[in-house]
Amino acid sequence: MMNIKTPKKGRIRRELEKRAPKLVETGKKTLILQGTKTSGLLNSVLTEIYHLKKESSVRYTRRNDNVRPFESGGDTSLEFFSQKTDCGMFVFGSHSKKRPDNLILGRMYDHHIYDLVEVGVENFKSMESFVYDKKLAPKMGSKPFIAFVGEGFESVEELKHLKEVLLDLFRGEVVENLNLAGIDRAYVCTALSSNRVLFTHCALRLKKSGTIVPRMELVEVGPSMDLVLRRHRLPNDGLRKEAMKTAADKPKKKEKNVSRDAIQGKIGKVYIPDQQLGDMNLPNKAKGVKRERREAKMNKQANGHPTKRQKAGSD
């Protein structure tokens, strides 16, 4: 026999509702973790990515023996972690002789691995190494500008993929309304060659230009690194099609009774159905009222106006 289990506390219930699939998704949480061995450099890379997306990421600091995203069977515990933390993306760092300072960026669909990109980190410069006016430092959770420079992002398959993953990783929350006073950061990704991308994080300085649009100035605040492409795995077509579905894809209902006119603009027709008084609810249909009516009927009977039913009973 099955049992219905529902959370006893409202907080847990709300938490579960947050995790439920939504019609419109506004952003993915990122899980940041490492494999058996990491280097000092990689540790700081992971920490700084965590700092960049602090409001929407989870950092696992223990080493994970059985996480190897590209190998079969090495994704089981990763998928479990994704389920546990409700993360739709992950950044996995590992360091080996064959692949030094290795970073795997991946996305999940329904807590299963969707796609993977593997990059090596070179020429890493941490946040601490940059000197700038601290007033400019970007605030946590602000919406960033993202700039991709280089023809590689269009022509090379791997770079195209990396671009999409980087955009998904750093674009922040998808918002409808944006406060223009709150824009203070930009990511610049430059394809230096067919397999090398320069990634930097900059603060924005808005200067007066005399028009509404201020003049933008980028101040490098770090981290900055070169990403050298290694392996990558694209999703299969069926999965991609499934994952690309949006609520807007569904065919919209035809708009009825609305027409547009060049002079009058939008014109609507309104149909008023016949008023059906029989179905209408009375404004005050309480039981007490009914009871009074019943009592009145009883009184009537007592006064000597026998109803049909009573007649039948007497016969």
């Binding site: 099955m2 529902t6 847990i12 409808e176 309304n177 406060n179 223009l180 649009v213 994952a243 690309m244």
Partner: protein, 337 residues
């Protein structure tokens, strides 16, 4: 003009892509040129950010205490979802029934007049109207059984109704679970959260199945479990085959040998089944005579005899068969019509 053509802007993501720019290959002597390269990248990045900002700041904005707020268009770059689209909840049994019958949901008042206390009370929940626990006296009815507690009956009835509703609810949720549309906060306990979808829920053995297994074990004795002592509540082992009955051979009081009767019955049945094959001698003799007569008369008329000899014979055999087949066909037709 040329720049705007090559720069793709996704305002929803505040993203810009310049696919025309091409950097020369990495400099060999690092420390001086790398700085220059980064500077160049930043310059290019600034240009792109400016392009996005041009579009962004020209959007219609509304003034707020914290600053101007613009409405961003939806992102144009398509990115995959994190989870599947939410599935619609399948209708419950009641909802389906109500739809079939055209039953409409009518709004009920939240507050109802309570006749016992003479006040207005909530329809459901704490301090509700017509609460069973508030009734101090119940009027006796003609249908009441002697010795039964009417309060206990009311309580039991209520309990039954609640149980029935819970059963229905579980049934509906099971259906929803089948369609993967279970509400997020509900979990059916037998199916623990599967981690990778490989674990199946353990099947529970039913009472009947357990009984069958016990019966199987009993057949290991010499008598096939016939003379075993039964435990309280244990059923007889299931008998799969037909039951055979052996009748007494010897004749009993006032009756003949039953076994002989049975075998006779079987024999008669068999014989009667094939009785049409048994020869009717008289008929055969007359038929033979008639044929002979005909043959003789024909021989007198013409010499060709062999073919005519065979034909009547054939006809005699065929006719009844044909008739039957025709009848069958017509019967079938009648049915199909």
């Amino acid at each position: 003009m040329e720049e705007t053509r090559t720069v793709q802007v996704d305002l929803g993501n505040l993203m810009a892509l310049d696919s025309s720019h091409h950097f020369p290959s990495l400099p060999s002597s690092r420390f001086t040129l790398l700085e220059e390269l980064i500077q160049k990248c930043l310059e290019k990045g600034t240009e792109l950010v400016q392009v996005v900002a041009d579009a962004l700041f020209n959007l219609p904005s509304t003034e707020d205490v914290d600053g101007p707020i613009v409405k961003l268009p939806p992102p144009t770059t398509k990115l995959p979802r994190e989870k599947h689209l939410p599935k619609p909840k399948p209708p419950t049994t009641w909802e389906m029934f109500a739809k079939a019958k055209g039953i409409k949901n009518r709004k009920k008042d939240k507050i109802v007049y309570d006749e016992q206390t003479g006040t207005w009370k909530r329809r459901y929940g704490y301090d509700r109207v017509n609460d069973d626990q508030d009734v101090p006296i119940l009027e006796a009815k003609a249908t009441d059984e002697v010795g039964s507690d009417p309060f206990a009956v009311r309580r039991a009835d209520k309990k039954k109704r609640v149980e029935k509703q819970n059963k229905n609810r579980l049934q509906n949720l099971k259906q929803a679970a089948k369609d993967h549309a279970l509400p997020s906060h509900i979990q059916l306990a037998a199916t623990a959260l599967p981690i990778t979808g490989t674990q199946a829920a353990p099947k529970k053995v039913s009472k009947d199945e357990l009984g069958n297994v016990a019966g199987l074990a009993a057949t290991a004795t010499a008598s096939g479990g016939k003379f075993d002592k039964k435990l309280p509540g244990e059923k007889k082992p299931k008998h799969e085959q037909k039951h055979r009955k052996f009748l007494p051979v010897a004749e009993g009081k006032g009756q003949g040998s039953k076994e002989k009767e049975q075998t006779d019955r079987v024999l008669n049945k068999l014989l009667s089944k094939n009785s049409h094959e048994i020869l009717n001698v008289d008929k055969a003799v007359t038929m033979y005579n008639v044929k002979k007569e005909k043959k003789r008369s024909k021989q007198k008329r013409d010499s060709s005899s062999n073919s005519s000899k065979l034909k009547p014979q054939k006809k005699v055999q065929k006719k009844p068969i044909k008739k039957g087949s025709v009848n069958k066909g017509s019967a079938k037709k009648g049915k199909s019509k």
